[in-house]
């Protein structure tokens, strides 16, 4: 039995689908984590103080194959902490949080911080500078050290009830989603001008033949997340494209195709 929140008795219930969902493919937890890592350049680092206590501090980072590249001063507490014990964790929050912060996506990467050497040192320095241009003013100061977090454990939380873990191997093999960061305008367009098509998708392919409205909440390389209204309540469902896409430019033809097959019945 899966653990679930203890229900105080008044939690809204979600209506289940009435028919099979055609294509449920979606980014893996590792893909989601890589997407968040690629979306910003600020994080919070957790390190261990001299007495083994946890220490949270704000940092900037670049990413080298998804692994955070930090540039911290040994004069700062987190720099001293890493030098004494390289165990570290970073929490990264997706930019543009919704008004309910816990509905937003975030993740934790945990592992060991190492000073890169040789060619990796150059690549790590470049990755940090590419993400944090202002670092050019201090990255060569003698008290600053570049660290690569060797990610061993990944915990992704996509919002309420959407969370999963990933292994280091899964994270290394994953990729940032090419569609999510640039989909905002296309989603607005779908909702403003093609609500009828979204509703047809929800009815024919999303498992909710009783849907009366459908709103697109997200588009990624594998499909759309739709929030559907039914007489039984509100649910979230998945409309996978007929084939994955590689860029936002392919979203229009993918949704036109979905509309066509939804209306063929």
């Amino acid at each position: 039995m899966a653990l679930d929140h203890g229900d105080p008795g008044d939690a809204p219930s979600t209506p289940p689908p009435l028919t099979p969902i055609a294509i449920t493919t979606r980014p893996s937890a590792a893909d989601e984590a890589r997407t968040i890592a690629a979306a910003t350049n600020t994080a919070t680092l957790a390190t261990l103080t001299a007495d083994g206590g946890p220490w949270a501090s704000f940092v900037t980072y670049g990413a080298l194959d998804g692994q955070p590249v930090l540039c911290v001063s040994r004069l700062a507490e987190h720099g001293r902490n890493l030098a004494a014990d390289p165990r570290a964790s970073v929490s990264i929050v997706t930019p543009e949080l919704p008004s309910d912060p816990l509905a937003g996506a975030r993740m934790t990467l945990a592992g060991i911080a190492e000073r890169p050497t040789g060619a990796e040192a150059d690549a790590a320095r470049d990755a940090h500078l590419a993400a944090v241009p202002a670092a050019k003013h201090y990255i060569d100061f003698s008290d600053f050290t570049v660290w690569v977090l060797r990610v061993e454990r990944i915990r992704w939380v996509g919002g309420y009830g959407r969370m999963d873990s990933a292994t280091a191997e899964q994270y290394a093999a994953a990729a940032a989603d090419p569609v999510i960061p640039s989909a905002a305008r296309a989603i607005t367009h779908l909702n403003d001008d093609h609500a009828d098509a979204l509703l047809d998708m929800a009815k024919a392919r999303g498992g909710y033949p009783d849907a009366t409205a459908a709103v697109c909440e997200r588009a990624d390389r594998y499909g759309l997340d739709l929030r559907v209204t039914t007489p039984r309540g509100i649910a979230v469902t998945r409309i996978g494209y007929l084939a994955p896409i590689d860029s936002i430019g392919e979203l229009r033809s993918a949704t036109v195709e979905l509309t066509r097959v939804s209306r063929e019945g």
Copy 2:
């Protein structure tokens, strides 16, 4: 000798003031930390995993006399961590970071998380709900616990070269600045319409009689931070009001007064 960054040789130098600065009063590190704590409702929590490693995770919080009030599920890793070892730290970043993230203000609070009891439990619950309205949907779920972080150590970083520590006593006795969060429009007005007055302040009271331009970067209850341009380079200086103010509504008369005394010579 104070530790300083190892200079690679090309760091810009800051011209020192040529005359005494009239009033240098500014918020303490504890006041600055309280101001950040009051400015938002999201933080990153650092806790200890079962094997004593650091774990960074996104949380929401309210504040009870500046002490973060968390509401976390024991089903989440950070909830399990706190239950096993209550040592904790939170990092809070001021909203609206500048384009160079490390120029922004942030702080770390470290201490021990405790479950409040009695009247404090009610006050903590209310403080969390006031800051995080969505928590009403889950705060009474049986797996959620309200924790108050008993703050023992404070580290504030206001930006490059502006940082200080504070004790628990200083933090408890401090107060959030009533002017900083609402000063943006007034600062724009000062810079757009009263650049001559700011320049006169910088010359007469800010220590830079050779200033050729002055831009207000911040206003707080004790005064203004000005960035001054001189033939010797760019510096930041302080223009304290003749008396502290308690609200943004008093800023106009305080700056009119500063302009008058600056021009009296």
